[in-house]
């Protein structure tokens, strides 16, 4: 997908040029940054002052040529920030609204979606009687069942509890990776959702692009830390499932060693993506003994990036993978850390959230 | 000329408008004219309308009023009369003889416009005439009845109906129609405009209406004495 947009509202200007591969692209940015406006332009609901959109080599919009493919032809199933359910239809009818427009052959298993979203008991209900989260789930189901060519999701999980979120996220991954191979554009404030899902990360700031690129590159760029939020920054690494152990833990192999994590739901041999928050990584000069952390990896410091505050972002090389650690400046001096220092990265087994493990 | 001439309000049948407006100028005091259909006028008088004089287009309604004691006894008078004519389009030929056959032929499948047979006076007269010449039953399916004689005239004027039965006074001013036959007076009850005073204040105007000056004006607008 290639998108070029220029649009002016009184007091706000959107001007950007973005490129997203297949898979899941995350749009990240503060409130009012322009995320929903971008979604609307891509869906075909907003005619920008200037714009160009190309998907899979087909040009869908090109204001210079007056080209504007109408939304229904684009079939970019959209989950809006507000649910926008059809008030005159039941939940079931809302869910089925788009199915008749789905191209022959492509079908999303209805029962599975209903089950996943916990909508089974609500099928006959009027949207007006639903709770906030129920509305959002119905809207999500409706978009999924329309078998869209691409999914545009504007904070689709914002009003869901984390348990439900963690049921839905793997399903989105499945849509991306499964037979549907569905590209997804995903707006979220929640960094753990993004890092779990996204292949490409685009950070929007006041209508412009502040950073964009493959998730791993953007996330492990110390310069991006302030954009993403100090507490959410971290690195994304790849690991292969090596074994599932009797005590419920799984062992994963990464380039620099092994990681032991609470049971990972993936077959042995699968390669997973792990997000390791910088603040979950400790650095030790000597290998700590008698500590509950099961993951201690030999590392070498390849960068120290002192921030504005009392913290420092330390980039570690762990057998070729980069891992970001956020520690205090006081610890940096106390331990005498500098570029080139050999050390150990200490990670708690439980510190790597299930939600940040993506396939 | 009446010595004592108070301002009056006259409720009158709509077809008298131009004639009455002119007569009113001869009255030394202010005259307020209110025009409507005869039935409406009669019911308004019944409801206590502020009328001093009432002039209707049909005897039935004036009888209805006097029966109810709504008009001053002895003031009833017929101030003018009219003639019934058959009108056709401007290029229509004269009809020398009027009977069921000639009328049907002239209509040529079209309709005969008349005022509503019971409610509109002109329609009631037309019905009497057609009954008199034994054409009523034959023509019944081909009638177009209207809510006023003016509407009947309009139907002929715009060509919606080939023929219509109206007053001679109506035909005078409409250029798009011509009189193709004048209905004999004796074939229907006399066309009279009954007037009466509703209040004492109405008497002087009633007197004016019966004057020769008024008669001349009525004649000018196509009414008969």
């Amino acid at each position: 997908m290639k998108l070029r947009l220029k649009h002016k509202f009184a007091g706000f200007t959107l001007d950007l040029d973005l490129e997203a591969g297949s898979g899941i692209t995350a749009l990240f940015g503060r409130s009012g940054a322009g995320k929903s406006t971008i979604i609307n332009a891509i869906a075909g609901l907003l005619r920008p002052d200037e714009g160009y959109l190309e998907v899979d080599g087909t040009v869908l919009m090109d204001t210079t040529r007056g080209l504007h493919m109408p939304p229904h032809k684009r079939r970019f199933g959209t989950v809006f920030q507000d649910a926008r359910l059809f008030a005159h239809l039941t939940v079931a009818q809302n869910l089925d609204f788009g199915t008749r427009y789905a191209p022959r052959g492509t079908s999303v298993p209805r029962a599975e979606v209903i089950d996943l979203l916990g909508l089974a008991g609500l099928l006959d209900r009027a949207p007006n009687t639903l709770s906030g989260g129920e509305k959002q789930r119905t809207a999500l189901g409706r978009a999924l069942l329309s078998a869209p060519r691409m999914l545009l999701m504007d904070e689709p999980l914002a009003s869901l509890d984390s348990a439900r979120k963690h049921e839905i996220l793997p399903y989105l991954e499945h849509l991306r990776d499964g037979p549907l191979n569905l590209p997804i554009l995903y707006v979220s404030h929640a960094v753990d959702e993004i890092t779990r899902l996204a292949d490409t990360l685009i950070v929007i700031k006041k209508g412009h692009i502040a950073a964009q690129g493959p998730l791993r590159d953007v996330m492990s760029d110390p310069a991006a830390v302030p954009l993403i939020g100090v507490r959410e920054a971290g690195s994304v690494i790849e690991a292969t499932v090596q074994s599932h152990d009797a005590d419920g833990l799984s062992t994963l192999r990464l380039r620099g060693g092994n990681l032991v994590l609470p049971g990972v739901m993936a077959a042995v041999g699968t390669t997973l993506r792990l997000r390791i928050k910088a603040q979950d990584v400790m650095i030790a000069r000597t290998r700590p003994e008698g500590i509950s952390a099961l993951n201690i990896l030999a590392a070498r410091i390849i960068g120290i990036h002192a921030g504005a505050g009392p913290g420092a972002a330390v980039t570690l090389d762990v057998g070729g993978e980069q891992i970001l650690a956020r520690i205090t400046g006081r610890a940096v001096s106390a331990l005498g850390l500098e570029v080139g220092t050999s050390c150990f990265a200490v990670l708690k087994s439980t510190a790597i959230a299930q939600s940040s493990i993506g396939r | 000329q009446p010595v004592n001439s108070p301002p009056v309000t006259v409720f009158a049948a709509a077809s008298l408008r131009d004639a009455l407006s002119e007569i009113a100028t001869k009255y030394p005091a202010e005259v307020t004219l209110s025009f409507a259909g005869s039935g409406t006028l009669a019911r308004q008088i019944d409801a206590g309308a502020p009328a001093d004089v009432v002039i209707l287009a049909h005897r039935d309604w004036s009888a209805w009023l006097s029966q109810r004691g709504l008009i001053l006894n002895g003031t009833q008078t017929e101030i003018a009369g009219g003639r019934l004519v058959l009108v056709g389009a401007a290029d229509a030929p004269d009809l020398s003889v009027a009977n069921a056959d000639t009328l049907l032929a002239a209509l040529d499948g079209g309709r005969l416009a008349i005022g509503q047979r019971d409610g509109v006076p002109a329609g009631a007269y037309a019905r009497e005439w057609l009954t008199d010449i034994d054409a009523w039953d034959t023509l019944l399916p081909q009638l177009a009845e209207t809510d006023s004689v003016r509407a009947a005239l309009a139907l002929v004027a715009v060509g919606a109906a080939p023929l219509g039965v109206v007053y001679a006074s109506d035909a005078v001013a409409e250029a798009r129609v011509r009189v193709v036959y004048t209905v004999p007076d004796e074939s229907h009850s006399a066309i009279r405009y009954p007037a009466a005073a509703v209040t004492e204040a109405g008497r002087p105007f009633l007197t004016l209406l019966s004057s020769p000056a008024a008669a001349a004006i009525f004649a000018k607008y196509g009414f008969t004495p």
Binding site: F86, H88 | A151
Partner: protein, 230 residues
């Protein structure tokens, strides 16, 4: 206070005329209402004003204008007659008069309903693959159903009550154009006809109230579905 054959015949005709007027006018009014609510075009204000005209003009004038336009001698009337559609002195003309007179009422009700629909809901339908027609029939139309119903009832009621334009345009032909209001008026033109007029007026009320009740019932069902039992 008895109802004679004339009254029943007039009632039958009135119902027939009102039904047809409603059936024909609803889609037309809907289209105009939609244009006025959603589109910007040259002459929009004029169209809007035109729609309101029959409300402003005395009905007799409207009837006279119809007569002038659709009389068999006039170009429009002649053309229609050539394709077999005669309006003058026919119940079809009564239908036309009822449509014209009821149009402002219908358009207003529908327009208000359309303006109350959030276009973002329609946008959502489009992203799910619904074409413009699909969005209209599957989303807009059901959402404005109460407004359409309201407009239809107004149109039906007006058609049941229309007098001035009808009698001027198509006269008073029993069985063809003598609708209930015309029959009532006719009765009132005869001294002592009040009883008969009242009986027919009551009949007219009864029918209209039936229609109003029916529509309220329908509207309630639609509304319950939309707003939910809260």
């Amino acid at each position: 206070m008895t109802l004679d054959a004339v009254a029943w015949e007039a009632l039958r005709l009135s119902l027939w005329v009102a039904l047809w007027a409603t059936i024909i006018a609803v889609p037309l009014a809907l289209w105009v209402a939609w244009l006025l609510a959603r589109k910007e075009f040259y002459g929009k204000s004029l169209l809007n004003a035109l729609v309101h005209l029959p409300l402003v003009l005395p009905p007799v004038v409207t009837g006279y204008v119809l007569l002038v336009i659709f009389s068999p001698n006039a170009p429009v009337g002649a053309t229609l007659a050539a394709v077999g559609l005669t309006l003058a002195f026919k119940w079809t003309g009564a239908v036309l008069a009822a449509i014209v007179m009821g149009f402002p009422l219908m358009v207003r009700a529908m327009r208000l309903a359309i303006e109350a629909v959030d276009p973002r809901i329609e946008d959502a339908a489009a992203t799910l693959g619904a074409s413009r027609v699909g969005v209209f029939t599957r989303v807009t139309l059901p959402l404005i159903a109460p407004g359409i119903l309201a407009g239809a009832v107004m149109g039906f009621a007006k058609a049941m009550g229309e007098f001035g334009a009808t009698i001027t345009f198509v006269a008073n032909i029993p069985g063809q154009t003598q609708t209930l209001p015309i029959a009532i008026w006719t009765a009132l033109q005869i001294p002592g006809g009040e009883g008969k007029a009242a009986a027919m007026a009551l009949l007219s009320c009864a029918v209209a109230l039936g229609a109003v009740f029916l529509s309220e019932g329908l509207a309630r069902r639609v509304a319950v579905r939309i707003s939910g039992a809260s």
